[in-house]
Symmetry: D2
């Protein structure tokens, strides 16, 4: 996939030996911080959402298109650990990997580290479900386009 | 007007000698601040939106209902001056008044001050227009429910 | 407790039969929502922080003063479940209770429900630790002012 | 200046015929939007701050270092016009240029457009001042490092 469709992002698909982890580098700006000079604990959720949406985009699922098609993938569960604080001006690597799905649940693992990987700042797990926007209900099975994405991803990781 | 319809708010309709200004008291929490220990300059826009929506609510216009009816009142213009910074833990008074309308433009003035009014932190002006959600276009005239609101407000201020 | 010290808030200390739960009513404004018309999943963290800071305030700990004294209570762990979405214009009850502490860890439970308690929207657990701001390190024991707060709270709940 | 120090950004210094405008491409994620499916009007302030901080960084002023040195450049005035809404999934170009300074005031112009420049979404003006953090006061003259930056910028634009 060419970079042309991703002009704003520093996401890269790591080589297969990295087991399917995607990385997005993020610089810490004033609006990310709170009074303590470090990143406010809720800010990480914006970075995790961005990494998730961009991971889907890399495989060919534009989230905005998915929504136009009548589907959503809302977060239904999240757990997060803050190991070490991140200061204004630093750049961090937001790493995410789509893990095994269970029915319509899609599980994502997260690591937020220094760009060289030596410092671990945050670990998290996020669970999404597929929702039919018109019915407002969780779907019994994933939308075809998302299931297709999962199949392609599985093929890539087995290569 | 009873407090039943405003359970979460500290808005009060000031006496008529205050010329139609509404006040909402807001306490500064950590998530409102940035590295400098004071309120991040964009945070004030959330407080101004809340004061605007609650002012409409006091007169009988629930913004969520307006949206369900197919209208929106997006911000099309804003100017803001930051006179003095506001620290975590402080409580401020967000004061707003709907000024004269020009066609479908609704102009609001803002003052953010200390609760006793002695300190002036922020002054701002915000302009809204009425938009037809389905057409995605600015309306030629205000929705009837909003025009009705304006008429009622004018009556109140003339009493 | 008089309302003078809590001018902006709808927090109430529930009767003792409610086992120490505090409640803060919050109305959903446009800036809380995302494209789907419901509250963005990260917004709840602002409400949970506000409820936590106000619970401390009710017992006599102003968080801004604690910070001025050289301490912080950062979030080190959080888990959250989103049971049902919350729409713009709705009012919800953010309920929190400080649970048993383990060393310098302070655990908080959260329920976000409809004001009548019939609908459950979100459940969460948040863990704070006490940090010495100058040393940038987790403290071995809670600051005296916070430990004093815990003792007072325990007495209140046992009454 | 090499790109190594700016791994996360799509900022480029446009050729001199572009008169000193810097561009940052930004993709619209769910957390940027509100109920209406378009970017919430306050979100643009985060993008404008990011473009400002990155423009300074390109010239050699790391904002976090400036703060460590005891200075700040807070926003004291802002005006913004919203010409056209921006939808989730779109990518926009946030363009900024530092204009003439007046004393310690630094004025920035903004244009937010489609990447090809054909669509104009937002125009804005932002004024910063230099503040001495310890004294908490506006400085009489710009910090030497910032004045040096202005001189270098003027040289670049005159080339």
């Amino acid at each position: 996939m060419s970079n042309n469709s991703l002009p704003t992002n520093a996401i890269e698909h790591l080589p297969s030996q990295n087991d399917g982890w995607y990385i997005r580098l993020v610089k810490v700006f004033p609006h990310h911080t709170d009074y303590s000079g470090v990143v406010w604990h809720g800010t990480y959720l914006t970075w995790m959402e961005e990494a998730r949406v961009e991971t889907l985009s890399l495989i060919g699922i534009e989230y905005a298109d998915l929504v136009s098609s009548g589907y959503e993938l809302p977060v239904v569960e999240m757990s997060i650990r803050y190991h070490k604080s991140v200061r204004m001006g630093m750049t961090v690597a937001v790493k995410t990997k789509m893990m095994a799905t269970e029915g319509v649940k899609i599980n994502w693992d997260y690591l937020i580290t220094s760009p060289d990987g030596d410092e671990l700042y945050v670990t998290a797990k996020v669970t999404l479900v597929a929702v039919d926007r018109e019915k407002g209900k969780i779907m019994r099975r994933l939308p075809a386009s998302v299931q297709d994405f999962l199949n392609r991803l599985a093929i890539m990781e087995n290569q």
